[in-house]
Assembly symmetry: C2
Homo-oligomer: 335 residues x 2
Amino acid sequence: MENKNLGLTVAELGEQQLLQRLYRFCEPSMVGDDAAVLTPRSGHHLVVTTDMLVDGIHFSDRTTSPADVGWRSAAANLSDIAAMGASPLGLTISLGLPGTLPVSWLDQFYQGVADCLNTYGTAIIGGDLSRSSVITVSMTALGEVLPQEEILRSTAQPGDAIVVTGVHGAARAGLELLLHPDWGQTLSLTERLALQKAHQRPQPRLDVIQALQHFTPVPRATGMDSSDGLADAVLQICRASGVGAEIQQTQISIPDSFKNSQVLTSEQALEWALYGGEDFELVLCLPLSSAQKLVEKLDSTAVILGQIIAGNDIKLIRKDGTKYFLDLQKGYQHF
Amino acid sequence: MENKNLGLTVAELGEQQLLQRLYRFCEPSMVGDDAAVLTPRSGHHLVVTTDMLVDGIHFSDRTTSPADVGWRSAAANLSDIAAMGASPLGLTISLGLPGTLPVSWLDQFYQGVADCLNTYGTAIIGGDLSRSSVITVSMTALGEVLPQEEILRSTAQPGDAIVVTGVHGAARAGLELLLHPDWGQTLSLTERLALQKAHQRPQPRLDVIQALQHFTPVPRATGMDSSDGLADAVLQICRASGVGAEIQQTQISIPDSFKNSQVLTSEQALEWALYGGEDFELVLCLPLSSAQKLVEKLDSTAVILGQIIAGNDIKLIRKDGTKYFLDLQKGYQHF
């Protein structure tokens, strides 16, 4: 019977039964009304972010299991919540699904979402199902933040240090491995799996926000996540704040496996670190003393990449001391 | 130049320029960060509802202009906010768009959304654009409500009067006219346009919620909107509350044009009123005295349809006094 059940399609099951099936993944008090009800804590602002992912554009069977599509979609939304300095309150999911899709796809997708949300202490609070010719995932995440702890893109000041968490280029390398399994033969199996996981199961950096919130006082911070690439994040912050930046190539953290395996030239590694995208790390501009304290608190899994300067130039200082101007056109555009 | 501009496609314009173009429809303070920030009033709960609409399933060029798709999508979400007894705080829009879509489609769509939201005193607060093979609209509306004024589906009690606002069957007739222009030849032009407008520009009943909130004290109310049909609303409320209902056919309000033009038999008119859907009216269960006061306050554009009874039966009392049991299977299922 189990096999037969796996072959059941969403059209065969029907909307009402599908909904019943999905309710088990949802916060029970949120199910069954026209809308979900939440109670943000007093004095907090509400943060809202939304995202659409389409089969064949943002994900593909070739690289991403249904559970990974669920995890990645949820993680991308939680990363935007973290990028605002907020804590998550919940997430809604709307899905467009072909009638021929096996119900097992849907079960696995929801399991991936629920696993991600459970990991970060939040839950599915609502959603919608629709028929569509292409699998379409639309999520909206809600979070709460004290007004003085909000992290915007537009408040960076000359002299701020630029802190970058984690490593960059790993998700890009993971995608390469999934698309071209012949690539990276000099990597160990452990290294290959770690890079694939960086692509399939990105970790939103809500832990960094919690670390910041333990500082007394909580420092003024500006920033965003690096979902569209490290270079894009620096450029967006500078553009929104009306400032420039000077960043040091030597400070860009790439996966150790890039260095050891010679799988990439150092130029390629830099390219992927700056423009690869989807690492979902945080790029934060802070007064220098707070930046140093944050790097220490994160056990040096973050670095000070450089500093905010007056003007509009965004300069990358190469290892040999030469300067290079960053170019947004290399960043990812959806159209 | 204007004609050339109308022919521009979303792929030709590119994501960054598209976003710039859409910002003019959005609340200015909400644009440019990873997430929008809202401030719900102190002591209020937050209400969240989400919806996905797909070209060819929920709307079509044959019946709905881009501006109407925008208005209808926004109105459906605001109707869910009203159905919770809440006031709107804002709306996010995610769109999946084919690269070949003219930019003018997008402009008109956004104009329709903005017109609807302006009418009801709220705004676009965020969104996402994605490439897709099929036009896909996903919206999430946020609202706020005092906890004691929340309207759920699960709290109806035997003895409650069932108030229904507006008329039912009009949106269904409007759709028929748009799909089959030969239908309804006995209707006047004014009547035809009014029915089409019921389909293309539904009015979420936030005014009814405001009227209720002016009562002292605000009465306990249970209910939902009639987006999936009047019968479906009564059935969902009864199921969620563990009660039955007795409703009077003579009290069901249909458009005057149905009666005058003999465009429908009375059986067909009843069918469309009960099961047609998309009228976006409210079905509210209230203590009888509050129900009477509400009907009076709404200048008798609402009626008392019947009452909640103990048990599980949902009975329609026909004009001749015979009873008929309502059947949810006739309601709309998406798969």
